[in-house]
Symmetry: C2
Subunit: 421 residues, 2 copies
């Protein structure tokens, strides 16, 4: 075999070249800055876990887990999501992790999935969770955080739709179909993408009667100008059913605490597909984005407990960070604000030491400075500066040195000026 590299990347894996990566890093910094400000703590877990830690956690999707036998004969797997490692960490360090625990995690995960536009085999997930608390204050704070984050990223038209699995459960009871709770979840989760008639047909095919469907529709097409009004109307139907009153009260509490009705709407048709939610659920959508949900989450009071063998309430939000990056790139939101100006010091033969010192002086002033590393025709150096997007080029040659000056060329206008140093 040759020692030469055949330059092929693996399908579904990406190299991040400087321009793209700088943008991603800036964005990650914005995320982390806000998470920290809200008192969330960072967590990172290894790329590899014992396979049996991940086993039985992802249902059908388990076949997408990258797994292999290592040199010691251990069955190992690459991280598939951030939830299971979080549960393992909670089980492993009971002395070090003090509850309530507010944590965030931004790390790559690996899935041997089909690749398509915007779907990769290596991609970042970003989870923010609170473990150990049942209070609705947690939900309110997560939503406040999400609003601040999206505002900071320059999103103007987004909406957070909230609902409650307890309300959906009460609706199932109200319609006399408690045993088909998850059928209701799955059927109405597609409400936005279908006509009411299509949803009705779906429910019929799942064995609901016309009368039951009527009662369900009654509960998810509510009158009311505001979210609180809608919830009040819902209360007249399911308020006396166990779980229903609590679900309504939870959402009311969240909406009042956050107190930003422009962004937060009660939407009785948000159901979220995942099985493990137990209380309030929410989804963030860019209104005119055409990209669907960019974040979502909810309360999952039983999931971590089921992994640990002990009850541990939890609630979280997952930011679709790869999708958010796409939306920002498409919209050009704030991208310019994330880019810092960069300068170049050109190199003239015989004045290497002066150029070296000048570059370091400018860096001392906090500037980002690329020192051109070899003597070349000045036109070549300018061409390089232009292609790399450096905004100014500094020069010291014979004339400048004699007069203790420096020449600065503005790469946009092409104008040169000379300054004392």
């Amino acid at each position: 075999m040759s020692n030469t590299i055949k330059p092929r990347p693996l399908k579904g894996f990406r190299d991040f070249l400087p321009e793209e990566l700088r943008f991603r890093k800036q964005l990650f910094k914005v995320f982390e800055g806000i998470f920290e400000k809200y008192g969330y703590e960072p967590l990172e877990t290894p790329a590899l876990e014992y396979f049996d830690t991940l086993m039985g956690k992802y249902g059908e999707e388990e076949k997408l887990v990258y797994q292999f036998e290592d040199f010691g004969g251990r069955k190992v797997a690459m991280k598939y999501d951030l939830t299971v490692p979080t549960a393992r960490v909670l089980a492993q360090y009971p002395d070090k992790i003090r509850l309530p625990w507010k944590k965030y995690q931004i790390q790559p995960v690996w899935r041997a999935d089909n690749t398509q536009k915007g779907r990769f085999r290596e991609f970042y997930q970003c989870d923010v969770d609170v473990v150990g608390v049942r209070s609705m204050l947690v939900e309110a704070e997560l939503l406040k955080l999400a609003i601040e984050l999206f505002e900071k990223l320059g999103f103007k038209e987004f909406i957070i739709r909230i609902n409650s699995r307890e309300i959906l459960g009460a609706i199932a009871k109200y319609a006399g179909s408690e045993d088909k709770f998850f059928d209701i979840v799955v059927a109405i989760d597609k409400w936005d993408k279908r006509t009411p008639e299509e949803t009705k047909q779906d429910l019929l095919s799942r064995g609901f009667s016309e009368r039951q469907i009527g009662m369900i529709f009654e509960c998810i097409t509510l009158q009311g100008d505001t979210s609180l009004k809608k919830l009040e109307n819902l209360g007249s139907k399911i308020g006396s059913i166990s779980g229903g009153a609590r679900g309504i009260r939870d959402l009311e509490e969240i909406i009042k605490l956050v107190d930003m009705e422009t962004y937060i709407k009660y939407d009785p048709t948000i159901a979220r597909g995942l099985a493990y939610y137990t209380g309030p659920i929410y989804e963030v959508t860019v209104i005119d984005g055409g990209v669907g949900s960019i974040a979502g989450g909810g309360r999952y009071d039983k999931l971590i407990g089921s992994f640990l063998g002990q009850e541990l309430p939890a609630c979280g939000i997952s930011f679709g960070i790869e999708r958010i990056i796409e939306v920002i790139k498409d919209k050009g939101i704030k991208e310019s604000a994330l880019v810092e100006e960069k300068y170049m010091v050109a190199l003239m033969e015989g004045f290497e030491q002066d150029a070296f010192n000048l570059a370091n002086k400018l860096r001392g002033e906090g500037k980002i400075v690329f020192l051109y590393p070899e003597v070349k025709k000045l036109s070549k150096q300018f061409e390089y500066a232009d292609k790399k997007g450096f905004t100014k080029v500094y020069l010291i040659g014979e004339e400048e040195k004699k007069n203790r000056e420096v020449t600065v060329r503005d790469m946009k206008s092409g104008q040169q000026e000379t300054y004392n140093i």
Copy 2:
């Protein structure tokens, strides 16, 4: 199989819990900030590569590469170092990467190596490289950058020892043992750890004569107060040997450009073990650290070319980021300076909304604020704040609300004061 998680981590893999991770993130930020300031661009490559890209690059160590067959039957491998992926990237994007290219990369790599104190199977590497230039300005700038970085990290006693593979080559010729060049490299690379007699015995066992050893020793135990003086003395011995003069001139040029003789010393016994260096080489050591080298590198004008099938000069420095973290932790250098103050807002029953709003108000002022997420006895909340290291706790209860005030408890002194809001 049970669905419950048995909390075992894989040997050689680490979870980073918040305190440790925050410290690491701060440190990475310092590194990145300086790299950017010097005009280096970030690069990230995937965790997985085709195995044949890595194959034949690491010699004996190839058996330490994590490799497996993926679902598509592809032989894949986890990243083993940052150099080979960099070479692949250079081969793959000739249109996107403009030479000269200054890049840095901080990413985890995986090695199925024996674990021991401070050696892991998943750890970060941090490489800074310049590709496409032969000028010594590159070396000078890399060393200047290293000095600034270590000063910024609070290291006071460190030294950068430089040498040149061309000088070592000329010494081999001078001693009439050109064919045993690499034996000299390997034998004198351990100079610091052995007595001269031991080095002599090593060289004897490698077939050098007493006379040859005398000539080698003459060249590596040089008189002179300064590095430049030593190089001048060396010149009188090997200055007329091909490569010798150039090696000396290169080091003189670097030393003069950087102009910080407190930190940079010519040391004729630095050899560095790796086969691929072609010019100047350097190692950074903490003087009283007892940890050996914390960074090192050199010029490797042929390595990338050998992977690409086309000549491409390059020069780099690799920061032993995991070891640097250990040194900083052991010495307590600057650690405090990296930690930001964190506050807590306590939660009093019936005043949840006020606490929620206060937390957001404080965050608006740029403070890092943990809102205690459920109503509990105040003593419990204070205990939590204490354990988590929050410096102040803010409170709003009935009295405070009535007077439009807030009570602030200083967790160190235990003193409470009340302010208007």
